[in-house]
């Protein structure tokens, strides 16, 4: 990684290609987001007539200001942030704990438990029984209805288990020879070594709690509890094609203008975008392995 020695020509070409490809991919991915951002800063007329590309027209902060000032937005924001923080912490702990024994495939019964989990990835009871379950647990109109059923994502569990399996077995063996208990091994050895996968599943859980609009739609009736993503989805869908065919013109008369719709997308997406850069420092390879070995 240290470019101190002079590189052979082939390597220079190779590296240039790598940078070029990645830069290209970056530009492709950035452009639509810039478009939405530009629209959120533009005047309504310019958006309606398709004039806004990557640069705002009639630049103004009115749309953004309007959205941020809206009390439905503010409430939704607070709810989404607390939901995401609490949900992510709880889920990461729950998943990390549940995944560890599953990584010991040789122990009796473990494969069966693993299959029990995998089975639920493909089969679920469907809308009605899940609704009745939440209702019978007394969780309707309660934010816990969004957290508890989502505590373990089997996908994340498998990622975690997979990662544990990839850790060098020799480390655990030697710790065991030193007489360390399983619990001690997990706390002292496994967790410090697992920063990248903790970061990954934290990100995945955070994003899924933040982005969930379907379960809030199902389990919450009180408009005061609406999380941000459901609020945003409603705003975006207000003037969608399907609603235009709908008879209720009063709904359309009250629909938000384009600028506000784009501003809503921007302000409800940026908070979750900030999570990844924050977690990126845990994606740096192997520093921790080195430290443990040392």
């Amino acid at each position: 990684m240290t470019p101190s020695r002079s590189r052979p020509f082939s390597e220079v070409v190779y590296v240039s290609i790598v940078y070029a490809v990645l830069t290209g991919a970056g530009i492709l991915c950035l452009f639509p987001f810039l478009n939405v951002l530009a629209k959120s800063l533009s005047a309504n007329w310019a958006i309606v007539s398709g004039k806004v590309g990557l640069w705002p027209i009639d630049l103004n902060l009115k749309n953004i200001g309007f959205v941020i000032g809206d009390d439905m937005f503010q409430r939704g924001f607070l709810i989404s942030v607390s939901l995401t923080v609490v949900g992510t912490l709880a889920s990461v702990v729950m998943t990390a704990v549940s995944a560890y024994p599953l990584s010991k495939k040789h122990l009796p019964g473990i494969k069966f438990v693993l299959l029990l989990y995998i089975f639920t990835m493909l089969f679920n009871g469907g809308l009605v029984p899940n609704y009745l379950l939440i209702k019978n647990l007394g969780l309707m109109n309660n934010l816990l209805s969004l957290v508890l059923p989502a505590l373990i994502s089997v996908f994340n569990l498998l990622l975690m288990k997979n990662y544990y399996e990839s850790l060098p077995e020799s480390l655990e063996e030697s710790a065991k020879l030193d007489g360390a208990s399983n619990l001690r091994i997990v706390l002292r050895l496994i967790i410090p070594l697992s920063a990248p996968v903790f970061a990954t599943i934290s990100l995945f859980y955070a994003v899924s709690f933040w982005s969930d609009w379907f379960h809030p739609m199902l389990y919450l009736n009180d408009p005061a509890l609406k999380p941000l993503q459901l609020y945003m989805r409603d705003v975006v869908l207000q003037a969608s094609d399907e609603n235009l065919l709908n008879q209720d013109n009063d709904l359309l008369l009250n629909a938000s203008p384009e600028g506000i719709r784009n501003a809503t997308i921007i302000v409800s997406t940026i908070p979750i975008l900030l999570v990844y850069p924050f977690l990126q420092k845990y994606f740096i390879k192997g520093i921790l392995i080195g430290s443990v070995k040392g």
């Binding site: 190779y14 991915c29 729950m94 019964g109 089975f119 009605v128 850069p277 845990y282």
Partner: protein, 304 residues
């Protein structure tokens, strides 16, 4: 007998590990296995007011409704083809991105690219569909502008059955590749740096290191992701297609999910939608099991 004693002693020695399983099992029992009784309504004509006990049993009638629908052959073919194209063309992309990012030395560049390429994941298909209709428009779209600049004829991507599946694959790849790469980036981050150090001392080129250290190092993750991906083969991207297609490309773009949506069979047709879901689940389940066995035999790696 000996095996049994061995079992018991293993369990006794690792009782603390077994204790760790309990919270997860309780979670599974309450939130996953309690509601699973709902699957039986696939064999009923379910009336939500009468409940499962009071609803009429109809055997396989709901499944027959799906298999005997006029366009079943077409939607099944489209579903499988679109899914297959997506797997073949899109599955490798996140791996390539992750591997390439691993070759980048400048941290600032690496982090910026990582962050930027995962942006599209956060835009919903409603928003993206609108953007692509403009980008790919034959008259004003930038893509056709480029085609025209090279002297080509403009292509109406959204109305041409030759191109529509490619449009689906390309837009899906654009939206999700950066996001999916995160898993592989994390897997690479978990590799032991000493391996690279040793290879470098042996004079291995960077390309060689990539093929001999990075890729083998993340192969279990690749296998895991591929098996799970194959299990979802009957979900070809319903939401995406609903927002991108139009009647002129039903021939190549109509899949199971979009068909039952258009036929009004998603809303309140509890029994039918459960039957369709069950059909997809059973197929997916066998594919996951088969994929796991196959992978165990070929690569020696497996989920369980």
């Amino acid at each position: 007998m000996k095996g049994r004693a061995d079992w018991l002693s293993q369990i006794r020695r690792n009782y603390d590990l077994y204790l760790l399983l309990i919270p997860g099992l309780v979670f599974l029992l309450i939130f996953k296995y309690t509601p699973i009784y709902g699957l039986v309504i696939a064999f009923q004509n379910f009336n939500i007011f009468k409940g499962i006990g009071g609803s009429e049993w109809v055997g396989l009638q709901q499944f027959e409704r799906l298999f005997h629908s006029a366009d079943f052959g077409r939607i099944m073919t489209n579903t499988l083809l679109i899914s297959l194209y997506k797997i073949v063309f899109l599955f490798p992309i996140p791996i390539i991105i992750a591997v390439l990012l691993n070759e980048v030395g400048r941290m600032g560049f690496k982090r910026s690219i990582q962050t930027i390429i995962y942006l599209p994941h956060f835009l919903s298909w409603v928003v993206i569909a609108g953007l692509f209709v403009n980008i790919l428009s034959p008259s004003t779209g930038i893509v056709n502008g480029i085609i025209g600049w090279f002297g080509g004829e403009p292509v109406n991507f959204f109305m041409d059955n030759h191109y529509f599946r490619s449009v689906l694959v390309a837009t899906a790849g654009w939206k999700e590749s950066g996001w999916s790469a995160i898993i592989f980036i994390a897997a690479i981050a978990g590799l032991d740096p000493e391996l690279y150090e040793a290879a470098r001392l042996d004079g291995a080129s960077r390309v060689r290191q990539m093929f001999h250290i990075t890729l083998p190092g993340i192969s279990t993750t690749i296998v895991l992701m591929l098996i799970l991906r194959i299990g979802g083969v009957l979900e070809a991207g319903t939401e995406q297609i609903l927002l991108l297609y139009n009647p002129t490309v039903y021939h190549t773009g109509d899949v199971i999910g979009t068909y039952i949506y258009r036929m009004g069979l998603t809303s309140m047709e509890y029994s039918f939608s459960t039957a369709v879901g069950l059909f997809e689940s059973v197929i997916g389940f066998f594919l996951v099991i088969g994929g796991n066995q196959l992978s165990k035999r070929i690569t020696g790696k497996s989920i369980w």
